[in-house]
Amino acid sequence: MRRLPEGGRMITLAVFSLFGVLAVVSAVLVVVQKNAMHSVFYLASTVLSTAGVFFALQAEYLGAIQILVYGGGIVVLYIFVIVIVNLKEIVPEQRKLIPKIFLVGVPVLLCVEVVTLVLRTGFPAAAPRAEGAGFKEMAEMLFSSYLLPFEAASVLLLAVLVGAIVVARRKHIDDPD
């Protein structure tokens, strides 16, 4: 990883903060929206913001993948599903307030606890960052140490492909399923 000049660090931090805030706000809006279409839109926003965070964290590859896969694939998929299912016309009722408080409070508690725990145990020392993008190392590692998971992932994708089609198929009258 390159060593950034001083100003570069400041800018990095600012970018990080910007995208971070954006991500959080978008995330909140995803969860809060009544209309599913609106939620999808904010999901897209969140995904892009997260990609920005990745870039700020100098994980460029990850950010690129994020935009491609998440933004281009999943979000589009969600839009399709909502259109097919015609979710607009169906508005299920909301939960009651007391459960909602609880249901929000517990995750918050979890967050607080994890953070506390991690901060208490501390992080290992920061390693110095080298120049240049680390693609080379990443690729080498991916295809050596993590070859098995990589291949397994491709098998997984295949399985998902088949499985999704199987599950989502319309049943014909003479279909043995």
């Binding site: 249901l103 995750p107 979890l110 606890e113 725990l117």
Partner: protein
């Protein structure tokens, strides 16, 4: 030889009892019984003659050892070997007794063949009669108190069986019971006396006891106690005060039974026993005095009751009690031979009287109430004649046996100086003559007061009944001459014969006094007879009736036997019943209460147990089930089916784990 005497009746009883009841004809039964009695009498005579000729005064034969000799501790700490043998003794006293028992018994057996001819239980009667004879013979032949007691109990048993012979009749059954129970009280005394003698002397043998007493081994007090206890038994058997109440009731039995048992033999057992143990009684002067006084009072007491009896047999019953009193008077002054002499003559004339009465009853088809008799002298003269002989004998008319025996007793009493007893005896003699001839006059003289059926069937008794009566009449007349006193020319063979058994006792009265006494007593008797004649024949009983009305309370008391039976009944019988009722109350309330209470407690406990089982145990079991159901109902609510609940649970789990980790760290 003398052992055969009891054997024949035993065999006769066995045959008649076991086989005769089922299979024999009346003739066979009668032949067996009379045959047994006859053979027994023959054996008695043979033994008697043998004794006369032999030099030995005493014969003892032991059959077998009943209780082997074992050491027992006596009073005073000595140890003596006590043995009880099945032994029999034959001496002069035994000879006299066996002759009387078998002789009179034989005559009565013959008479019974006629008297009981129409009875249903002919064979049973003769079996019992033979059995009784056997028991009585065992009693008089016993060589020790043990064997004697066997006979003692045996006659008691047979008395019960024979009194209650017609047991379907309530009165007879009750009379049998009364006789046996009253006897039992006496037997208790007998046993206690025996036990006392064992304890003091270590022997129950007659010879042994005689030797011991003569050897001075017995204290006077002990001797008196033992003698009195034995005498208690005698009062029971011989119907003296206080245990006499059974004898009048015993008249429920057939008349031959009354004659044999309650006149001639069983009731004389007590007299025999005292004579047997005369050494003991003489040694204890107190006991002897008690004997004499008891006899005297009983004699007079019973005679008073005979005055007012209306049943012919009852009169004779009280007469028996009275006459036995005379025997005890004789014994009580030490004139043992005189007592036994009177026993013998009494056997003759009393059984004669009973059998003759039986003849009268038989002639009248069962009537026994003298108020419904009268004028029978002309109708049944033969019976009348023998009856008259008996009445004269008992009244002590000179020339007949009763005169000799009674006079000997009275002379002995006078000689002993006991004038009270003599006075009572004289009074009794006069009373005897009176009531006896009252009976004779009411029955045989005067107008006929018969009921129509009785009068219709009136007939003399058959020869089988009359012949024994005649024989007895002869004995009643001449039987006394064996005891003809020296004053009148005799040589007192009887007393001298009995000396070997009863010791010597010569009354030292001047001849003149004795003759005077005789005249006095005879005169009293004659006067009494005349008085009875006047009252009952001349005036038809009127003075008696007026007397009874004037002194109604007195009459009532005497005729009700001085209410002694009622008193006994209240005290003893009632006492036993009260104890029984108390025991029953305890049983019903206390014991049953406890049992019921236990049962109720058990029920309550079981109810508690049920509650416990149902509540606690089942509750626990059901409770477990219910807890499970409740728990599962509760836990089921976790399975809401809502995804967000499951997700929340997962998150909560994570939170929990991390909390723990934080806490640890």
């Amino acid at each position: 030889m003398f052992l055969l005497i009891p054997l024949f009746p035993l065999v006769g009883a066995a045959i008649n009892g076991l086989i005769g009841i089922r299979f024999f004809s009346r003739r066979a039964v009668g032949a067996t019984a009379v045959g047994a009695a006859g053979l027994s009498f023959a054996a008695a005579v043979a033994s008697f003659t043998g004794l006369l000729r032999s030099a030995e005064p005493v014969l003892v034969k032991t059959l077998y050892t009943w209780v082997p000799a074992s050491l027992v501790r006596l009073a005073g700490g000595k140890a003596a070997p006590l043995a009880l043998d099945f032994a029999f003794r034959y001496d002069s006293l035994a000879a006299v007794m066996t002759l009387v028992v078998t002789g009179v018994g034989l005559l009565i057996h013959i008479y019974s063949v006629g008297y009981m001819a129409h009875d249903r239980s002919y064979a049973r009667f003769f079996a019992y009669l033979n059995l009784f004879t056997f028991a009585m013979l065992v009693l008089v032949l016993g060589a020790n108190l043990g064997v004697m007691f066997i006979g003692w109990e045996g006659v008691g048993l047979c008395s019960y069986l024979l009194i209650g012979f017609w047991f379907t009749k309530d009165a007879a059954a009750n009379a049998g019971k009364k006789a046996f129970i009253t006897n039992r009280v006496g037997d208790f005394g007998f046993l206690l006396g025996t036990g006392l003698l064992i304890y003091a002397l270590g022997t129950v043998d007659i010879a042994g006891i005689t030797a011991a007493v003569e050897g001075g081994m017995l204290a006077k007090g002990t001797a008196t106690a033992a003698a009195l206890l034995l005498f208690l038994g005698a009062t029971g058997k011989s119907a003296q005060i206080p245990l006499y109440t059974w004898l009048p009731d015993a008249m429920e039995g057939p008349t031959p039974v009354s004659a044999l048992i309650h006149a001639a033999t069983m009731v004389t057992a007590g007299v025999y026993m005292v004579a047997r143990f005369h050494v003991l009684f003489s040694f204890s002067g107190t006991a002897l005095t008690v004997v004499a006084l008891t006899g005297a009072f009983t004699a007079v007491y019973a005679a008073t009751m005979a005055f007012v009896q209306t049943d012919i047999k009852r009169v004779l019953a009280y007469s028996t009690i009275s006459q036995i009193g005379y025997m005890f008077i004789g014994l009580g002054v030490g004139a043992y031979a005189a007592g036994i002499f009177h026993l013998m003559t009494h056997a003759f004339f009393k059984s004669l009287l009973f059998l003759a009465a039986g003849s009268v009853i038989h002639a009248l088809s069962g009537e026994q109430d003298m108020r419904r008799m009268g004028g029978l002298r002309a109708r049944i003269p033969r019976t009348y004649r023998v009856f008259l002989v008996g009445a004269l004998a008992i009244s002590g008319i000179p020339g007949l046996s009763g005169f000799f025996s009674k006079d000997e007793i009275l002379a002995s009493v006078f000689a002993s100086g006991d004038y009270l007893v003599w006075g009572l005896g004289l009074a009794g003699a006069a009373m005897t003559a009176f009531y006896m001839f009252r009976l004779v006059f009411m029955t045989f003289y005067g107008e006929e007061r018969l009921s129509p059926e009785a009068g219709h069937h009136l007939h003399e008794s058959p020869p089988v009944m009359l012949v024994p009566l005649r024989i007895l009449a002869v004995l009643a007349i001449f039987g006394g001459y064996v005891g003809l006193p020296r004053v009148l020319g005799g040589r007192a063979w009887f007393s001298r014969f009995l000396e070997t058994s009863t010791g010597t006792h010569e009354s030292h009265l001047p001849a003149g006094t004795e003759v005077l006494l005789m005249i006095v007593s005879v005169g009293a008797s004659l006067a009494a007879i005349y008085a009875a004649y006047v009252i009952y024949v001349k005036r038809g009983g009127e003075p008696a009736r007026r007397f009874a009305e004037k002194f109604r309370a007195l009459y009532r008391t005497v005729s009700r036997k001085y209410f002694v039976d009622e008193a006994y009944g209240r005290i003893f019988v009632g006492g036993v019943f009260a104890a029984g009722r108390a025991a029953n109350w305890i049983d019903a309330h206390v014991i049953d209460g406890i049992v019921d209470g236990a049962a109720r407690l058990a029920r309550r406990v079981s109810r508690l147990a049920i509650l416990f089982d149902g509540g606690v145990v089942d509750g626990a079991v059901n409770g477990i089930g219910r807890v499970h159901l409740a728990a599962s109902a509760l836990l089921r609510r976790l399975q809401t089916g809502y995804i967000y609940n499951y997700a929340l649970a997962v998150v909560l789990g994570v939170v929990l784990v991390i909390t723990l980790v934080i806490a640890v760290l």
